[in-house]
Amino acid sequence: MTAGLAESPIADTGPIPDMLFQGEDTSVRVVILDESNWANRQTFLNSIMKVAALAGKSNRTYLALPKSAASITDARLFRERGIGLFTYDHRNVEEALPARYFETAAIVASQTNMASNDRFENEIRELRTQIDTLERTVQSLSEELMSLRHMPSAPEPLKALASTRTLRPIAAMENPPTFFAGNPWVEVLSRRGREEARIAR
């Protein structure tokens, strides 16, 4: 019956089967309708509902019925839902109706997860690179800031002068060339000769 599968401990979070068999890529869940309880209406309904809820959550799902109950069970209802049937008595267990094979969500999910994991890993790698770059930039900015703090705060009077001076229109031009705008050298150079004369006096 196990067909190469081994019985595994049950750790499901949803409806709990009575038995779980797992192989490399396959899992089979079995809900057993106990012979002693099968005439109990509530237990019977509970087993049916459980097996219906489990269908499609593993590769194959079976309901194991006492042989005595098989003759009064309509297998068509189970076939439509992909649920297989085992019948059992004191001597043996038989597969009365093979369960449909479902590509389980877990397997699909694991494939999806692998793709997502690759994507996440790439994103994490990119983020690490970006963080490294940012760290280097922050480190460099921090060093620049520290060194600026240690520098004598020398004034830049020449630049300051430039901003206070408005360039008058240039002869023969409506607008001065753009490289004249705010250029401190216009002021600095226009003093050439005047400074030496002032110092000489």
Binding site: A154, L158, F179, V188, G193, R194
Partner: protein, 422 residues
Amino acid sequence: MSEYKERYTFGMDFGTSDFKFGPITCGDIPKVLRNRGYFPDRDSIMMRALNQAPEIVVGDDVPLYLQSSEDLASRLVYPMRNGVIDRGDNRAWRVVNEISRFGLNMFRPKQDKNFEGFYLVASLSSVSPRYMYESLFETMKEVAKDGLVKASTVISQPFAVAIGHGVTTCVVVESGHGNTQVCPISSYPIRSALVAVNRGGGEANSITAEILKDLGYGDLAREEAFVRRVKEDLGLLPLNLEKAVKAAKDSPSKFRAKLKVSGTRVEVDFAEKSWQRFLIGEYVFNPQNELFQSYITRGMPRPKDIKIGDTVFEGMIDLAEAIVRSVEKCPVELQPLLYKEILLSGGNFSWQPPEKLRDFAADAPTKMKMLLKEKGIKGVSVKMTKNPQHSVWHGCIIYGYAVPEDYRWNWERMEGWLPVAA
């Protein structure tokens, strides 16, 4: 400031490859010509038959007169190829004379009867010896005979870059084809702190040619223009050479680059040797790495220390060391201010890292900052000039506009106007 001088300020930038010129009225963009002149073979039968060949041709007409390619080397003269013209190189000075005259004539005002000549500001390499200034002034005097120049002056290219960029205290690193000049500026160029490096874009071309030979493209390595294109399209500037080379050797496909010349069958593929792309940029900044030794041993010319005029050009010094040496020649109080504004200028700094290789490749300011940090210099600011192609000309125009016309030329400070009648 006289209105006449403002109206007729004229700038000239004698670059190694291009001559940029024009009056202030050009606005932001000057006129650009190849800085070269062609001396046609006036004895050739065709030229005699046509009886119209001038002694020298400059400007856009040069291609019309080109004769056999064998003659090009001797007849096509680029006067500023190395930034400096030899004292006795009459043909180079002849080109300077002719191209200056050509440029000034192009903008001679035809309507203004009061025109007495331009206030001309020319810019030369900072390593130009005094005789170059003298010769250039003589040239301007000759040109002035046509009524084109009223007064002239000469300023150094790094000084013009600082003016054009609008910073009064800075270090300008100007790297051209033949050499690299490091010049601190503090309202004036600090000439005593000038450091010159005998390495420029030409050396990056040399290592590119060696790499091409190793890759099996020896025939293409002989074509200078092609080598330059490989350098510009495939060369990379590494953040850290060892790490970049290791990463490129570990995953060559990530760093692989090809250059296909459209309209031809020519294709260069670095393939597994794509790590060598990093050697091209590194050689410009620091040729001391042992990886370069094998190329030098196999015959690649090693950048030599040379003396031109009064200046010693060091060949193998790394660029950050050149900056540190230059700054440390200045007063201690000034040094932090200089490190706060390092301006990189010139085509040799046009390295752009591909987006996907940003962890390993850098642009020139980032690389320079990192090299300076390795030398313990922190808190530096390194920038490219706003307009690398035209900033020298911009500086010339602002200088001509702003400096008073009565500020006469002085050989000690190397500034001021020299009237042509002087």
